[in-house]
């Protein structure tokens, strides 16, 4: 078992037993669920929309090179600069160089999972740049020194009391503040940072090839200020976030908003096509888009796993996942948690160390039924497992167990061998470790199926 797998098991065991954690997760995810159900009812025909979204993403990903080049050409024409990055280091170096060029001391950021992926905050801190997260949830996580717990709602595992305490400790806020008051505290502090910052960094929700556009969607207005006040705007994105045309936003923005937060549209949806125009009132002097690969072409090279690149990061698969609900976001120890994280992490960060995530699923298929772009998530988890077996990442105990299982299943005699008690003993011996002591083992009946069947047939006669 890899070190990662051991850590994962330990963390999940702890979280599953943590009743306070479960209570908070259930509370938060119940609200998401209710909002989503309400939001879904607005669609004329969601199944059709999912078909369209899937087909558009499939078409785009199959022509990724063409669309990226089209985006680059259009965006560059309007004064923006495109920077390509194979690795996180390429991306981080480019961002550092831009900060150096502008002697940036303070950088404000809006929410971005890709910058988590490249560990940007630490790298900039090492270069003596003060990076401030401005999305409220991310700001809370930054104050707590934690990674986001959820790709859309970074601090959903914290109660309002915990946030109030954090603000008291780190910001000297009055004790016992309520959510609205806490928000005011953050607003006041971050307002100052927006004005001080030289560079603003955002993620990207969609790249638009036909108009060379960068779409950022958010609710708080921090994305707007990050792109409005600083002198430089850097947008960091994975290469898969592209759509052929601005017109497809009329499908993708509602899908993203409804699956992400149950809203018809998020409050702010902005399309950036470049730095401030000559006749415009305000805006950054320079705008950069960083296109990051970081293993995505590995996913692309696999015609099956490729579908995971359709993801629009709405977080719906996390919200519905019984595993995520119980173990939370940090147990995964990966940038992307939940079902989509379990699918992509083994490909992006190594199969050997991360294949255990593909087993962290009950295969209930909830993720697949909810995905707005119809990624067959639970099938891809099975596919990862299959890959692991083919590449011999599974251990000898598992191989032996499956060999034994196969022998028994192929022989009626072996299946019928032993009474109920013997089976219970053997099962307990083998399984109790895996089953855990917090739930009861299933019990085999005294008589096996064939015996029960024969008796039943006799009675029927």
């Amino acid at each position: 078992m890899s070190e990662q797998a051991k850590l994962f098991l330990q963390a999940s065991r702890e979280k599953t037993k943590d009743l306070a954690h479960r209570h908070k997760m259930n509370h938060a995810l119940k609200q998401s669920d209710d909002a989503f159900e309400k939001g879904k009812a607005r669609f004329a025909n969601l199944e059709l929309l999912r078909d369209w979204a899937h087909a558009i993403k499939r078409h785009t990903i199959e022509q990724l090179d063409t669309y990226l080049c089209e985006f680059e050409q259009n965006f560059t024409q309007r004064g923006g600069k495109v920077i390509w990055a194979q690795t996180p280091k390429d991306a981080v170096d480019a961002i550092k160089a831009i900060c150096r060029k502008h002697a940036a001391k303070t950088v404000v950021k809006s929410k971005s999972m890709v910058t988590e992926e490249i560990h940007l905050n630490n790298a900039l801190a090492d270069a003596d740049v003060d990076v401030i997260e401005t999305d409220l949830g991310e700001y809370i996580q930054q104050l707590a020194g934690e990674a986001p717990y959820h790709i859309v709602a970074p601090s959903l595992h914290k109660s309002k009391e915990e946030v109030a305490q954090l603000f008291e400790e780190k910001l000297g806020a009055n004790p016992g503040l309520q959510p609205a008051q806490l928000t005011r505290v953050a607003r006041k502090i971050l307002r100052k940072k927006f004005s001080e910052a030289t560079v603003g960094i955002t993620g990207v929700n969609f790249l638009l090839a036909d108009i060379g556009g960068v779409v950022v969607t958010e609710n708080e207005g921090n994305g707007r200020l990050v792109t409005g006040l600083p002198k430089v705007h850097i947008a960091v994105t994975g290469i898969e976030k592209i759509l052929p045309s601005v017109h497809q936003l009329s499908l993708f923005l509602p899908l993203l908003a409804t699956h992400g937060s149950g809203q018809q549209l998020t409050v702010y949806n902005s399309i950036f096509t470049g730095p401030k125009g000559a006749a415009e009132t305000d805006g950054p002097e320079e705008m950069y888009v960083i296109l990051l690969n970081n293993g995505r072409t590995k996913l692309l090279a696999d015609p099956v796993a490729r579908e995971s690149l359709y993801c629009i990061r709405c977080g719906a698969c996390l919200n519905i996942c019984p595993v995520y609900k119980n173990i939370g976001g940090h147990a995964y120890n990966a940038t992307y948690s939940g079902p989509i994280g379990a699918v992509v992490t083994p490909h992006l960060q190594g199969l050997n160390e991360n294949v255990h995530l593909s087993y962290a699923s009950s295969l209930c298929g909830g993720c697949t039924t909810v995905c707005p772009v119809r990624i067959p998530l639970h099938n891809l988890l099975l596919y990862n497992r299959q890959q692991a077996v083919e590449k011999r990442c599974n251990n000898s105990a598992e191989k032996a167990a499956f060999w034994g299982w196969k022998q028994v299943m192929l022989s009626r005699k072996l299946m019928n061998a032993g009474g109920g008690n013997a089976k219970n003993n053997v099962f307990a011996m083998i399984m109790s470790g895996i089953w855990g002591k917090d739930r009861a083992l299933p019990v085999f009946p005294k008589k096996n199926f064939s015996q029960q069947w024969k008796i039943r047939k006799r009675h029927e006669r």
């Binding site: 409005g228 006040l229 017109h247 998020t266 805006g283």
Partner: protein, 216 residues
């Protein structure tokens, strides 16, 4: 920049290698019938916009004509007791010299908007189906002003209403013919968050209140 060219070639080569092979026919780009995205409601554009925008905590004030708008706006400013109101609005500017607008125009504060209590702007369009205000940096409001001010007041007329998001995008495409403003954005209600225990809080980084004054 040479390094960037090299990395660009590497990334594109990796993509092309990865796509080389599947043997499957390539997917055709479907045409999305955007009128099938949301259920349609049997109501007019004005009623639709008002209903949706109110449901996301925005406020719509309908005005029969310019002078009624001037009256309503003046009344709002007085009722709220705002002393620092700024405007970046062509529409309002064009009404300089008209008696009805005298008071409101005289009240306006120019320049730095750090302490502004309410900001008035124009807009490109209103989207009835989603309760959205379409704005762009082609207008004087720019990027930061409309989101920095604690109260945002939008002046629009009914002719600017479109039904769906797709219609708004089409209109923008026709108006700018490829020469887009550096930003265009949709604003659907006041700034909000649910980041603390999913409790709804309005006015996180952007406005707490958004008013749309809709003139016939």
């Amino acid at each position: 920049m040479n390094d960037n060219q090299k990395t660009r070639d590497e990334v594109l080569a990796a993509i092309r290698m990865a796509l080389h092979d599947t043997g499957q026919p390539q997917a055709v780009l479907p045409i999305v019938a955007s009128n099938l995205v949301f259920k349609s409601q049997e109501e007019g554009l004005v009623a639709g916009f008002t209903r949706v925008f109110s449901s996301i905590d925005g406020q719509v004030i309908r005005c029969e004509n310019d002078s009624q708008l001037a009256g309503e706006l003046t009344a709002l400013v007085k009722r709220k007791g705002w002393t620092k109101v700024s405007a970046r609005s062509q529409w309002l500017e064009q009404r300089r010299g008209q008696e009805a607008f005298e008071w409101i125009l005289a009240t306006l504060v120019d320049g730095d908007f750090t302490h502004t209590e309410a900001g008035i702007t124009d807009c490109e369009h209103l989207v009835a189906q989603t309760g959205s205000v379409v704005m762009s940096t082609a207008q004087s409001a720019g990027r930061a002003f409309p989101v920095y001010v604690p109260v945002h007041i939008v002046i629009a007329n009914e002719a600017q209403l479109v039904y769906s998001l797709d219609e708004a995008i089409l209109q923008m495409e026709q108006r700018y013919q490829g020469d887009y403003p550096s930003t265009w954005y949709l604003m659907s209600g006041p700034s909000r968050t649910g980041d603390i225990e999913k409790t709804l809080v309005l006015g996180v980084h952007g406005p707490v209140e958004v008013y749309v004054f809709l003139v016939k």
